[in-house]
């Protein structure tokens, strides 16, 4: 596969990307390196994993990170209750050695996304979402799987990947990630899209969008992002929501009044709304 083929496949999935982004994705894919994606919330980090799975025709496995996430939720867990029941049922029928051995077999192993991805017969796309929300211990635990594509399970031994998954890690930079983790990954930073790209995204996601309205909204969102008083900058998803809301209300021109009425679709706090000021991109109200 070359860059233009991958770009075409991503385009077909409705993901607007330039050649540089497609090249970075292809490099991570070809080298089998995990890809660490950083950027503000809502710029399309998670979407990359989804469209890559669709473009490469691979199953997507998702691990959502949160505080307190540990290997029993991420990698594997023994089905303890099933093991206990099995002991009680088979105690008189099977010898102790055979029973013990059978207890640590695949039948009692609960596979979580990380283990599923490396034991899969077909290559997968593994999304480790919001890694910055997980604890540092979990980050350290990921190092083995990311660099060696293998995991160690004490009762079973080392399990090597049958196929190499395309691993995507996303982070909102809520905390700095360790140097060790960064070194094992290829890195991509996604900024907010420029005006042209945002209009292209609107066209792609809303094929029947009014061109004039799309440009106006993209410009207005661009201005809001430039406004230093606004703490939570509007994401691409919110831009799409805003245009959809305006179209649903039958508005084809973003006037100051229309903006005031629908601003809640892009700004989600009173402080941000107060800081938003007037809109330079808006049309005038009435004659």
């Amino acid at each position: 596969m070359d860059i233009s083929t991958l770009k075409q496949k991503l385009d077909a999935q409705g993901y607007v990307c330039d050649e540089a982004l497609a090249a970075t994705l292809l490099v991570a894919l070809k080298l089998g390196r995990p890809l660490l994606i950083e950027g503000a919330a809502g710029v399309g980090k998670t979407e990359i994993a989804k469209v890559m799975a669709a473009a490469l025709d691979r199953p997507l496995l998702r691990l959502q990170c949160y505080e307190g996430l540990d290997e029993s939720k991420a990698l594997y867990e023994w089905n303890y209750q099933k093991q206990l029941l099995s002991i009680q049922v088979q105690m008189d029928r099977t010898g102790p050695d055979a029973l013990t051995k059978s207890l640590f077999s695949d039948a009692y192993l609960l596979e979580r996304p990380l283990l599923q991805s490396i034991r899969s017969e077909v290559p997968t796309v593994l999304l480790i979402d919001e890694i910055d929300k997980a604890d540092e211990e979990f980050e350290a635990f990921l190092l083995e799987i990311l660099s060696e594509m293998q995991v160690s399970i004490p009762e079973v031994g080392v399990l090597r990947a049958k196929t190499i998954p395309f691993v995507v890690l996303t982070s909102n930079r809520a905390r700095p990630l360790s140097e060790a983790l960064r070194r094992r990954c290829a890195y991509l930073y996604i900024p907010y899209p420029d005006l042209d790209k945002e209009v292209a995204i609107l066209r792609s996601k809303l094929p029947n969008v009014n061109e004039h309205l799309a440009v106006q909204v993209a410009q207005a969102v661009h201005d809001l992002r430039e406004n230093e008083g606004i703490l939570k900058k509007p994401s691409i998803a919110e831009t799409i929501d805003w245009v959809s809301a305006l179209e649903a209300l039958g508005i084809s021109d973003l006037t100051e009044d229309a903006r005031e009425r629908t601003l809640g679709f892009v700004l989600k706090s009173r402080e941000d709304m107060e800081a938003s000021g007037h809109c330079g991109a808006c049309g005038h109200d009435g004659p």
Binding site: L26, V27, E38, E67, Q81, R173, P176
Partner: protein
């Protein structure tokens, strides 16, 4: 075998990146060669995106990478133009050095100046050199009458002027090369912020403080369990299921308890820095319920914890306390702190001092610091003066011998020091 074509060039580039401070190992060099030979990239922007994803692993590193890339990958025409420009600059410098040799003379004898200061004279603007020439011209008569006295005077004036210029040149260079405006602000000396930078810097500080808040609350909550079985609870719960331990109970994580005492200088010399430091203080004060914050200039004042809830209210509180913008008496502040009853310092306390060490009565301050160090478990000094200027300030040299001192002249240094403290 096309990888060999790129090997030498990429090894050179990797060496340059390492020189610039990026961690680029053999694996990265190998990956760069492999990918360039496989993909046959023609577009410069794409080559940049590919190589930066392999070698620059953060936004900050990408700014460094961009500079190195632009300097390394140039066309033949650009290289020739660059060489011509360098040659012209070298010729101009040689010419200036000759002029400097002629200018830096008093009464026919060369003014004894350090080599680096002579170089500052060569590189500084024509207007500044003209100022020194005029000063020399004005004192010509006096110099002829008393060469020894006026020779020393001229030398000291030149030295001071050139040292100031040297510092100004260093300040101008810091952070100015960064491509990202936010990153540039993060690495610029806080005292050098322009009026127009303040809102953007404040937004940046709020973002970093929020990040610290999130880290702190995560540390406080300590999600998950310790991995150690709680036998008592497991056995008790096992009774519900006829003595079979279907549900295991684990011990919760032990939470680290830290006690911080913050002593923040809000005197005249700290005006600019205090504005920013106070924002970080808000995060720091949330480390644990047992942290205490004191402000000082000529007096010591304990901060009401309710005033820390809102940043604007806190700033008003500081201004109305009468401490803001006055002189500094660190010795008195530390003595008052040590004498607080009930005591605020103790073996489990980390005392954080935010001050530039510019205080009246340095010996008294040093004695009080020793006493504070005796009472507190640890004393850490956050200093807003850039580390490269520390050798010029005597009080810093004294205080840094008595306690651990961290430079916090930039927002980046300030946030990373805060993070280090929080991680214990």
């Amino acid at each position: 075998m096309r990888e060999g074509v790129y090997l030498e060039k990429m090894a050179e580039f990797a060496a340059l990146l390492r020189h610039e401070g990026l961690t680029v190992g053999l694996r990265e060099t190998e990956d760069m060669c492999k990918i360039l030979s496989e993909l046959d990239l023609a577009d410069r922007g794409t080559v940049y995106a590919v190589l930066s994803s392999l070698c620059a692993k953060s936004r900050e590193e990408q700014a460094v990478f961009r500079r190195a890339f632009d300097g390394f990958f140039v066309s033949v025409e650009q290289r020739q133009a660059l060489r011509a420009r360098h040659e012209a600059e070298a010729r101009e410098l040689a010419q200036r050095r000759m002029e400097a040799e002629r200018d830096l003379q008093a009464g026919g004898n060369p003014i004894p100046l350090r080599e680096d200061l002579q170089e500052v004279y060569v590189r500084m603007g024509e207007d500044k050199r003209e100022q020194l020439r005029q000063m020399l011209e004005k004192t010509r008569g006096n110099l002829e009458r008393n060469p020894k006295l006026y020779g020393n005077f001229i030398r000291s004036v030149f030295m001071r002027f050139l040292l100031e210029q040297q510092m100004a040149m260093e300040d101008a260079a810091v952070g100015s090369e960064s491509l990202d405006p936010d990153l540039a602000l993060l690495y610029r000396d806080i005292s050098q912020f322009r009026e127009t930078d303040i809102p953007r810097a404040a937004a940046l500080v709020s973002a970093i403080a929020r990040q610290l808040d999130a880290e702190l609350s995560r540390a406080r909550r300590g999600g998950g369990h310790s991995g150690k079985l709680d036998f008592k609870r497991t056995i008790r719960r096992g009774l519900e299921t006829g003595g079979t331990f279907y549900r295991l109970s684990y011990r919760p994580r032990r939470q680290k308890r830290r006690r911080l005492v913050l002593l923040c200088d809000v005197s005249g010399s700290m005006l600019q820095f205090s504005e920013f430091a106070l924002r970080f203080l808000k995060s720091m004060s949330e480390v644990s319920e047992s942290s205490k914050t004191f402000l000082f200039s000529e007096e010591l004042c304990r901060v009401n914890p309710f005033a820390l809830q809102n940043m604007d209210a806190f700033r008003d509180y500081v201004r109305s306390s009468g401490l803001y913008g006055r002189g500094t008496d660190l010795g008195k502040a530390l003595e008052d702190l040590c004498a607080q009853r009930p005591g605020v310092l103790g073996p489990s306390v980390t005392l954080l001092i935010l001050s530039d060490t510019k205080t009246i009565d340095v010996p008294r301050a040093a004695r009080a610091l020793l006493e504070a160090r005796r009472q507190a478990g640890k004393v850490l000094w956050l200093n807003p003066i850039p580390q490269r200027k520390w050798p010029y300030v005597r009080s810093i040299q004294t205080m840094s011998m008595l306690c651990q001192m961290a430079a916090c002249s930039t927002l980046e240094e300030l946030s990373s020091t805060c993070r280090r403290i929080l991680q214990g």
